[in-house]
């Protein structure tokens, strides 16, 4: 019961703020709404008993990425700047397409979802187990993707510095 109520609250927060984030005229506000959405998503993870994901989502998304966004916005816009209006035709077309896509997907979901699942109360996934799985090389263990991601991160770091540095 309590979980349901919490879920509804989070769902409403996510829905409203996602729409506000993409339709706001001020960039800094958009970023703030995005932050709310991301935090609410972190709440959903908690609801799913994924505490670790909650932590990562909060730290990386809400912490790291949002800071990047805010820096970028402040570097490129003066405070209070409004984004100029997009052409009406473009907006209407986008709304039609999005709503159509949404309706289509929702239709599929409610007509085809399999109801035989059961929500089993899960044990807390402890960090030790996580670490072992991430570092293992057996089946259902993820050392290779982990290494790939680390290389990707390194490449991104170098790339981002190269692209953004001031040229003399």
């Amino acid at each position: 019961m309590v979980e349901l109520i919490i879920f509804y609250v989070l769902a409403i927060v996510i829905s409203v703020f996602s729409i506000m984030a993409v339709s706001s005229k001020r960039l800094i506000r958009s970023a703030t709404y995005l932050l709310f959405v991301l935090l609410a998503t972190a709440g959903l993870y908690l609801l799913l008993d994924y505490e670790y994901l909650f932590a990562v989502q909060t730290a990386v998304y809400a912490g790291g990425i949002m800071v990047l966004f805010i820096f970028a916005i402040l570097l490129t816009h003066k405070p209070g700047d409004r984004v100029p209006n997009e052409p009406k035709r473009q907006r209407i077309l986008s709304i039609i397409l999005s709503v159509a896509g949404f309706a289509f997907c929702a239709h599929i979901i409610f007509h085809n979802i399999n109801r035989v699942y059961q929500l089993v109360p899960a044990n807390e996934i402890n960090v030790k187990q996580l670490g072992m799985t991430l570092m293992g090389t057996e089946k259902f263990e993820y050392l290779l993707p982990f290494e790939t991601i680390s290389i990707l991160l390194l490449a991104c770091m170098v790339g981002a510095i190269m692209i953004a540095r001031k040229r003399s």
């Binding site: 473009q90 077309l93 397409l97 159509a100 896509g101 289509f104 599929i108």
Partner: protein
């Protein structure tokens, strides 16, 4: 005798070095390098010759030595292409000839080519030519010979076209290359036929006289002649192309557009005798298996010899006269090979041919270098611009006279001995042919002295500045070659070179010798009478035989015939339709493809608008439509 490899390697290295540095060094340095390399090569060749003839001579027969040999491409157990060095009497003799003349030309060019643009390039090409010619000479198998044969053709092409800004030189180089290349096609086909049936390229096996080698060819005929005859005839066509035998001689007179020392080296002394050398190299095959072809060679040689001699009598460009004289003299060598038998005195023609090759190389190089010296002084090739030069150019005068006497066959100069042996060999074979060759010898004496008197005697032509003797770099080779020309006749050539490699003594036949001396003297006096002082007789004769004179000065219209065949027949009836097909059908298809592609791309260009969001619309719409199709249908 492993060191003989150096004889080949050194000119090649010199070519690469001079070719790479090009104009970074002073001309003098480049020339010195080329010349000193050639000096070493010449010394090595002399040493090789001395060692070969002194060590091998005692056993009675000169053995074939192969001091260096690598297998290059192996096709089957027997058929493989090798590279190597083969030493036998004729190849050693050719080594000496090529390196001597080449060295003389290298030295001479210091003076002649001084201040020319591309001096280093010139020496690089000379080195390349020397390398190719030496490689040709020492080839151990017919395929190696073919490779170097083509290399020689390329270097000849490069050197004729040395003055590449002159249209005539470019045209001449192309002509030389195409005509010889055309003949080489025959050579190649001949090689392929021969190796197909005998399964070998090797000279040692081919010329061993072993009938088993040709066992595979017995019975195989093509159009009434045996396959072996076809093969040897085709190989001879290759030789005829390089050696300017009728009717493939047309390139040689034009090749005189190249620098004169080049003419001396390539188009008088060495490359043009490659055909003779080829026939001599395969002589046992010709003699034992296809005597008809060998006799054919004799008649082709005799005709060419007479034909060229007649033309030489009326040419006015001194280098052209010498060019036709060269053709004529190579004809002699071919006749001599053609009439030769095998072994001992039967093989006199073979020996005489090689002897004449040797002496001719020396005195013809001398003539060309002398002509170069004259051209250097008066800046013209035309005989009419010369006259009375004997006072100004004493060294050139004396050496030129020596060469003229030698080629006319006056004792004791070298040409007398070699020509005389050719004549006696021909007499033994067929007296009519012998008399024809004697007549040609008379013509030779006549046109040479016509040249001599026109240049050095006669009326003095007014020059822009007084002619003077050439620098020492040019006169030293002249003197050296003149000395060789005087004494080379006394070499007992039969001791070294003979058809069966057994030394034999050849002696002069007084009848033949006497007759040829008399004919030559008459011709010389006739020339002296006509050209020493001004004399109306030449013009009168020209008017009397107007038709002959005109035809001869137009070289009997052979070039025109070629032009007619290529331009009127081949171009119009073969090339034009092919060109049309190429331009309209093949190009049309390709162009059509391109046009359609271009049209199509222009039509769909607007797809690529460059707007990310437009792409996103399309992607989303497409995804929705495909998903809807999958789900609802």
């Amino acid at each position: 005798m492993q060191y003989t490899l150096l004889i080949l390697i050194l000119p090649l290295l010199s070519f690469i070095l001079l070719g790479l540095v090009d104009s970074k060094w002073k001309p003098r340095v480049a020339g010195s390098i080329g010349t000193s390399v050639l000096g070493i090569v010449a010394l090595l060749s002399y040493f090789t010759a001395w060692k070969y003839f002194s060590s091998a001579g005692f056993s009675g027969t000169y053995e074939t030595l192969i001091p260096f040999h690598v297998e290059w491409l192996r096709f089957t157990e027997q058929l493989h292409i090798d590279l190597g060095i083969l030493l036998d009497p004729i190849s050693v003799m050719m080594l000496v000839v090529v390196s001597t003349v080449s060295l003389m030309v290298h030295i001479y060019s210091f003076g002649y080519m001084k201040g020319e643009r591309g001096f280093e390039r010139y020496y690089a090409f000379l080195s390349l030519f020397t390398f190719s010619m030496l490689g040709l000479v020492v080839a151990t198998n017919i395929f190696q010979m073919y490779i170097f044969w083509e290399l020689v053709g390329v270097s000849s092409y490069l050197l004729i076209g040395f003055y590449y800004t002159k249209p005539e030189a470019v045209a001449a180089s192309k002509k030389a290359f195409i005509v010889t290349r055309f003949a080489d096609l025959g050579f190649l086909i001949g090689i392929l036929i021969l190796s197909f049936y005998t399964r070998t390229f090797d000279f040692g096996i081919l010329t061993s006289g072993d009938a088993n080698v040709f066992a595979g060819m017995t019975g195989a005929t093509f159009m009434g002649a045996s396959v072996l005859s076809w093969a040897t005839a085709l190989i001879f066509i290759g030789g005829a192309g390089k050696s300017a035998m009728f009717p493939l001689h047309i390139w040689l007179p034009d090749a005189m557009e190249g620098p004169t020392p080049v003419s001396a080296l390539i188009h008088a002394a060495t490359m043009v005798v490659a055909g003779v050398y080829l026939v001599a190299r395969l002589f046992p095959i010709y003699h034992f298996y296809t005597p008809d072809v060998l006799h054919g060679i004799a008649y082709v040689g005799a005709f060419t010899s007479l034909f060229a001699a007649v033309i030489a009598c009326v040419q006015t460009d001194i280098k052209r006269v010498l060019a036709f004289s060269t053709i004529s003299q190579i004809g002699y060598m071919m006749v001599s090979l053609g009439v030769s038998g095998y072994g001992g005195h039967e093989g006199l023609g073979y020996m005489a041919s090689m002897f004449h090759l040797f002496t001719h190389a020396m005195f013809k190089a001398l003539l060309f270098l002398g002509a170069g010296s004259i051209i250097h002084a008066v800046h013209s090739n035309e005989m009419s611009r010369m006259g009375g030069l004997r006072k100004y150019m004493p060294v050139t005068h004396i050496t030129f006279l020596v060469a003229c006497l030698a080629i006319s066959g006056i004792p004791p100069f070298s040409g007398f001995f070699s020509k005389d042996e050719i004549l006696s060999a021909t007499m033994h074979f067929e007296p009519a042919l012998g008399y024809l060759m004697s007549f040609t010898a008379g013509l030779t004496a006549f046109y040479m002295f016509r040249l001599y008197y026109n240049i050095f005697w006669g009326k003095e032509h007014k020059q822009e500045h007084t002619p003077h003797e050439s620098p020492w770099a040019m006169t030293i080779p002249l003197i050296f070659l003149a000395t060789v020309t005087v004494f080379a006749g006394f070499i007992p050539f039969g001791e070294f070179v003979s058809s069966d490699r057994k030394p034999f003594e050849s002696e002069l036949e007084p009848m033949v010798a006497g007759m040829s001396i008399v004919v030559a003297l008459i011709a010389i006096f006739f020339a002296r009478y006509m050209y020493r002082k001004e004399n109306p007789l030449p013009d009168k004769l020209a008017n009397t035989f107007a038709g002959l004179h005109k035809a001869a000065s137009h070289r009997f219209y052979i070039d025109e015939v070629y032009m007619f065949i290529t331009k009127k027949i081949i171009f119009n009836h073969v090339s034009t339709p092919i060109a049309w097909f190429d331009r309209h059908v093949i190009d049309g298809t390709m162009n059509g493809l391109a046009t359609v592609t271009q049209w199509g791309s222009l039509k769909i260009k607007w797809f690529q608008s460059g707007r990310i969001q437009q792409y996103a619309y399309v992607i989303l719409l497409g995804a929705l439509i495909i998903a809807a199709l999958v789900i609802f249908i």
